[in-house]
Every structure is written in structure tokens, then in C-alpha cells.
């Protein structure tokens, strides 16, 4: 569905379902340079099992208009405002990579409007290396290549994935290729410069689950586990043989973890 929100067209994937205020809502937030389609299997599952399932394209991404927001706090505020605009009640929020920072900040700022959080491919601080930031700033295709290769376990290039016949490497490349100029850099820089994680963690009252890949090269497990100590009662699920892109690399294990985290 498309709505006009904050002066721009905003696209929200619902798998064709109308939102029902009587249902609980789950929201999925994509990562840097990506769009809603990374969540399709999960949106389809939850929408057919008693939930409003929404996966917005962040401002300036995918089918949403406007300029990309440049801070994690800005994205979190945008997301909370979107919940209000959609008239949905307490929301369970899952975010991946940059989206996990947005989910963390939204849970801190949203109070009772956020009832649970799942942080996938999470790390804090989410420092981005200079070669990647520089390439993204220059809209150099090397940024796409770095994100594609480092964004998955090495085995992802070999393949053998759970969705038959798809090349996850090439699907990721095409998604990143489709990002408008400047968007990948805006996203990566927002991750790189975000400093509110510790304060956000202290404010969060809702249940938090981290879903991590043990072969994640972008946000390694060790750092995420360390940060989890600052989140009261945070549950950590580690998916074996999985890199940063768990929704594509291990969709079934990610599904099972999300059902536990968001139900």
C-alpha cells in the first residue's frame, strides 16, 4: 500500500492485506540501500497468521519518495510517526542491520508503542570502514560489491540456498544497484555516526531478541553479545553457518527465530 506521509509517497508492504486495528502489528525495517522485499516471506507469514504485517520502504528507498534520512534517530522518529499515521497499536519491530539500529532507537523513543524488538544482524557501534564509506560517497559500484560479498557468509557465493533457484549474491547486487544515488552512503553514514545506542538500551522496557549469524563479517557476533548485556533480559539467538544476510541465507531459521521474538 502507498500513503502520503511527511510530504512524500510512502510504500508499505502488507502482502495485499488491509490493516485491521483489532490485530496485533509486526513491522519489519530493512537495512542500508535495501527495500521491503527482503522481508517478503516474513510479511506473508505473519499477515496470514493473525497479524498486521508491515514492511515500509524507508524514506528515499525502494518505492518511497523523498530524500533518505541521514540519522538513525531521524529514521526512528519517522517510523514511530508512520505507526501513528497507519493507526496501528503497539508494534513488534524487527530490524536488520541499519534497520536494527532504527528498531533499537524506536523502542527507546516509542515507549509503549513498541511491544517487542528483534535486532537482526545487529552491532553497536556500527562503524563502517573507510573504503566502503568512500566508495558509497562516490556512488562507486565497489560499494555494492563490498556490501554484497561482506554482507553474506563466504558460502553464500557458492549458494545452495533454501529458496530454490535464486542466486542470493546476484539478487543482493540488483537490490543495491537499484538504490538511488547517495542513498547507500546516507544509510551507511547514519550507521557509522550513530552514538545513541547505549542511552537507547537503557530506556528500552520491552522484550528484546538478537538474531545473529555466527559467520557475520559486517556485525560480528562477539560485539553484539557484549552489547546485549546492556539490554535487560535480551535473548540472543545465533544461527549457525550464517552471515549478515540471514533473511536470504537462512530464511527458515530466521523465520523460527522471528516467530519466537515477535509473537
Amino acid at each position: 500500500m502507498d500513503i502520503s506521509y511527511q510530504g512524500a509517497n510512502t510504500y508499505i508492504q502488507t502482502a495485499g492485506y488491509a490493516l485491521d486495528p483489532a490485530k496485533p502489528t509486526v513491522c519489519f525495517v530493512h537495512g542500508a540501500g535495501m527495500d521491503h522485499a527482503v522481508w517478503t516471506l516474513f510479511v506473508r507469514h505473519f499477515s496470514r497468521n493473525g497479524y498486521n504485517a508491515i514492511a515500509p520502504d524507508l524514506r528515499g528507498h525502494g518505492r518511497s519518495g523523498g530524500d533518505a534520512l541521514t540519522t538513525i534517530e531521524g529514521c526512528a522518529g519517522w517510523l514511530l510517526g508512520l505507526f501513528d499515521a497507519l493507526g496501528v497499536g503497539p508494534v513488534a519491530v524487527a530490524g536488520h542491520s541499519m534497520g536494527s539500529l532504527v528498531a533499537l532507537q524506536a523502542a527507546a523513543d516509542g515507549g509503549e508503542r513498541v511491544r517487542a524488538v528483534a535486532l537482526l544482524g545487529f552491532g553497536y557501534p556500527m562503524a563502517v570502514g573507510a573504503p566502503l564509506l568512500d566508495a558509497a560517497r562516490a556512488n562507486d559500484h565497489a560499494a555494492v560489491d563490498m556490501m554484497t560479498i561482506w554482507g553474506h557468509d563466504f558460502a553464500a557465493q557458492i549458494g545452495g540456498h533454501q529458496v530454490p533457484g535464486l542466486s542470493i549474491t546476484n539478487v543482493t547486487k540488483r537490490r543495491l544497484d537499484a538504490a538511488r544515488p547517495g542513498v547507500i552512503h546516507a544509510d551507511l553514514n547514519a550507521c557509522h555516526t550513530y552514538t545513541g545506542g547505549v542511552d537507547a538500551a537503557a530506556k528500552i522496557k520491552c522484550p528484546v531478541t538478537m538474531i545473529l549469524g555466527d559467520r557475520d563479517r559486517m556485525t560480528p557476533v562477539r560485539g553484539a553479545r557484549e552489547f546485549a548485556k546492556q539490554l535487560a533480559g535480551c535473548r540472543v539467538e545465533v544461527i549457525p553457518g550464517c552471515g549478515h544476510g540471514m533473511m536470504e541465507e537462512k530464511p527458515e531459521q530466521t523465520h523460527l527465530a522471528l516467530v519466537k521474538a515477535l509473537a
Binding site: Q13, A15, G16, D35, A37, T40, L41, F42, R44, H45, R48, P131, D134, A135, A138, D140, H141, A142, A143, V144, D145, M146, I149, W150, A155, Q157, I158, G159, G160, H161, Q162, V163, P164, G165, L166, S167, T169, N170, V171, R174, R175, D177, A178, P251, E252, H255
Partner: protein, 430 residues
């Protein structure tokens, strides 16, 4: 600025799509010879049926052995995904039928494999789909033929038997300007020699039966999707841009983004038309694919050698091979096919049909049969086989000389091939 490296073509030919079997450790791809797959529980079954979870249901739609082949082909072509089919013609049919409906129109090169020509010229019109055939050497002819109801442009990388080389970048630009995808049959070149997606094509089809298998023991085909075509922007494909109540309420472009087309090929094409590749044939084709880069280098080397040899023979009127400077597409071939123009070409023998028959019967290393792309060298004389019922006049109208011989050059010692051809050429002129 350089980024990290992707795996190379030769490595992907061996490994893409397969990791050692997690249950047994089998290094080779296991043959999952099963029709169906047990669901862990009712919830997983419901999720699989509603396209809310990933996995296997029924081998008509997806099978783990076949998926290895599909993923490998997608990796080699640089596509987002592939669907394997029971034959090359099945691949062409499902590639086209995913895009067209009654009232649709296709623009196609007229330099086509006979089976493809038959599908477009005679079979699809019965279902309300018309085709306009154009000269592949005239890109503007494609532009002139496109209509509001056109859904795709179709052509082969290199024509058979004349070796017309398609100017893929030019034709792709014309197709895209009109909002339609370019579908390319790349059977004769394989991704070793030419990757059509790098030149602007949107969809590639293969007969895997030919060079990709290479051994001549298994029939198969595949459709590969570049994942770049703007289905929403085109406005001509509601089957990809609107929610389909007959297909799990999917809106393919919205739900699958760059994989929209190939997901519909699988979920509609295999489900409803059922032209599935068997796991055993997928296994056989994978064995061939592992050595494709090595074989194609030798195929091309031998083909160039034989073409040059034939060009110097007094019994030969003309050799049609785009790798020779006298071919009209030589310059284009140098640009698009720098590693070689494949190993299928033709020549015209002096002496017409009678000489052609004598030539064929005198060959001992070449096999006389209706196929191309085998590891063994193959030959056919259209005037006495595929086109035998045509009069001399009708043959000329079809552009086939009475003495036309088509060769598919294999991997034998090239001197043995030269000796075999020398013997047969001598016999043909007596």
C-alpha cells in the same frame, strides 16, 4: 576503486549451487529422486503453500538436485535466478508464455532454430499470439516491428546455420525504449563465450542438451533472469505488477523485486505447464557443466581450425563462420565474442544434393545426426534430412543451398577431423 573479488567463472562452474550434502557429506550433488518432500508440521506445510516459508514441496515445482543446476546457471550468467526445464523448447515456451497472453505480439529474429520458428510461426498463433520475424542484422527492423501489444523481442546470440551475430546492445536498447524485454537464446555460445546480460539482455534461455551438457545423454533447458527489467515502468505486464488471486495473491514485482519474473516462471510456469527437468537429468547436466570452460575453449579452437581448413578446399564453395574475416558479422563478433564464435557453423559443398549425400556417407569420425553441441563432432546435410521434402526452388527460398553442410565441431584431435573431412570431400566430388 576496487572491491573484494567474486568467485571466478571456472570456480562457479564447479561449485555454484552446491555445498557438500549436510547429512552424508557427499561431495557430488546427490540425486534427490523423489516426487515430494515431507512437511515437519502443519504450520510449515501451510507456510510453504502460501509462499511464506522457504523449502521444497513437490518436484514439479522445485527439487534440490535441479536447484543446484539452476543456481549454478544463474551464477554463471550473472542472473538473479534460473528455472530448469525438461528441454530447451520447454524453456523457450515458458519464457515466452510468462510474458504473453491472447492478443500479444512478439518480435523475433528470423534466424532461428527450426523448433523455435515453428513455435512462434505456427503454434503460438493458435493461442492468439502473433510474431513478426525480422532480419537480425538490421536492429532498426526490430524497432519498426514493435507494436503496442508487443511483449518481448526474441533472438539468438548466433544464428544456426548461418552464424548471424546479434548486436545485443543495439537490440536491447531498442526493446527497452519500447518497454519490452529482450529474450536471448544463448545455447550456441554458452556463458563461457558471451554473457548476454552484460550487453543488456533481460532473459536468457538455453538448451542444456547442447554444450552445457556436452555429453549428449540428457535433454534439458533453462530460463535465466537478469533481474534488471523494469516491469512496473513498462506497464505492459499486469501478470507481474498486480496481485494475482490465482497465484497465492502474489504481486511478483512488489513481493520479489528483481526476482519477479523468474519467480513467476517457477510458480506459474512449472506449476501449470509442468515442463519440469528430472533430478537425474539435472545430475547428468551438472556433470557436463563442471567442465564447460575447458570444453568450450577446445571447441572454439577446433572450430576455428576446421573453418580455416575448409576455407582452403577446392570442393568448398563457401564457409559461413563468424570467426572468419570474410563473414559479414566478423567485426561485431570480434566485439561481442572475443573468445570465439562457438563451434557450430556451415559450409557449402560443390555438387549440390548428390555431393552432400556422398560427403555425409563418407565421414567416419563425424556423426550424422540432428543435434549440436556434443563433445563428439556432428554433421547434418539439411537438403537430404531436415529439409529433404523441399524442392530445389523451395530450398533456395528458405536460404538453404543444396550443398549446405552444418557442422558441430567436437573435442577430437583436430588432425583426425581434418583427415575425416579431407576423405569425405574427395569422395563427394567423384
Amino acid at each position: 576503486m576496487s572491491g573484494p573479488r567474486y568467485l571466478g567463472f571456472d570456480t562457479l562452474s564447479l561449485h555454484a549451487g552446491q555445498r557438500p550434502d549436510p547429512t552424508t557429506g557427499s561431495r557430488a550433488t546427490p540425486i534427490y529422486q523423489t516426487t515430494s518432500f515431507v512437511f515437519d508440521d502443519a504450520a510449515r506445510a501451510a507456510g510453504l503453500f502460501s509462499v511464506g516459508r522457504a523449502g521444497y514441496v513437490y518436484s514439479r515445482i522445485a527439487n534440490p538436485t535441479v536447484s543446484v543446476l539452476e543456481e549454478r546457471l544463474a551464477a554463471l550468467e550473472g542472473g538473479v535466478g534460473a528455472v530448469a526445464t525438461g528441454s530447451g523448447m520447454a524453456a523457450i515456451h515458458v519464457a515466452i508464455s510468462t510474458l504473453v497472453g491472447a492478443g500479444s505480439h512478439v518480435v523475433s529474429s528470423r534466424a532461428l532454430y527450426g523448433g523455435t520458428h515453428n513455435l512462434l510461426a505456427y503454434t503460438l498463433p493458435r493461442f492468439g499470439v502473433e510474431t513478426t520475424f525480422v532480419d537480425p542484422r538490421d536492429p532498426q527492423a526490430f524497432a519498426r516491428a514493435i507494436r503496442p501489444e508487443t511483449k518481448l523481442v526474441f533472438a539468438e546470440t548466433v544464428g544456426n546455420p548461418r552464424g548471424e551475430v546479434l548486436d545485443i546492445p543495439a537490440v536491447a536498447a531498442i526493446a527497452h525504449a519500447a518497454g519490452v524485454p529482450l529474450v536471448i537464446d544463448a545455447t550456441l555460445t554458452t556463458p563461457c563465450l558471451l554473457k548476454p546480460f552484460e550487453h543488456g539482455a533481460d532473459i536468457v534461455v538455453h538448451s542444456l542438451t547442447k554444450f552445457i551438457g556436452g555429453h549428449g545423454i540428457a535433454i534439458g533447458g533453462a530460463v535465466v533472469d537478469a533481474g534488471r527489467f523494469d516491469w512496473e515502468g513498462s506497464g505492459r505486464f499486469p501478470q507481474l505488477t498486480e496481485r494475482d488471486m490465482g497465484l497465492n495473491e502474489l504481486d511478483f514485482a512488489e513481493d520479489f523485486g528483481p526476482a519477479a519474473y523468474i519467480m513467476r516462471v517457477r510458480l506459474e510456469g512449472l506449476r501449470d505447464f509442468g515442463a519440469t527437468l528430472s533430478p537425474t537429468n539435472a545430475f547428468h547436466l551438472l556433470q557436463g557443466l563442471e567442465t564447460l570452460p575447458l570444453r568450450m575453449r577446445r571447441h572454439v579452437e577446433n572450430a576455428r581450425h576446421i573453418a580455416e581448413f575448409l576455407g582452403g578446399q577446392p570442393a568448398v564453395e563457401q564457409v559461413t563462420y563468424a570467426g572468419l574475416p570474410n563473414h559479414p558479422d566478423y567485426a561485431l563478433a570480434q566485439r561481442l565474442l572475443p573468445q570465439g564464435c562457438g563451434a557450430v557453423f556451415s559450409f557449402v559443398l560443390k555438387g549440390g544434393r548428390a555431393a552432400g549425400r556422398k560427403f555425409i556417407d563418407a565421414l567416419q569420425v563425424f556423426s550424422h545426426l540432428a543435434n549440436v553441441g556434443d563433445a563428439k563432432s556432428l554433421v547434418i546435410h539439411p537438403a537430404s534430412t531436415t529439409h529433404a521434402r523441399l524442392s530445389d526452388e523451395a530450398l533456395a527460398k528458405a536460404g538453404i543451398e543444396e550443398g549446405l553442410i552444418r557442422l558441430s565441431i567436437g573435442l577430437e584431435d583436430p588432425q583426425d577431423l581434418v583427415d575425416d573431412l579431407t576423405r569425405a570431400l574427395n569422395v563427394s566430388q567423384k
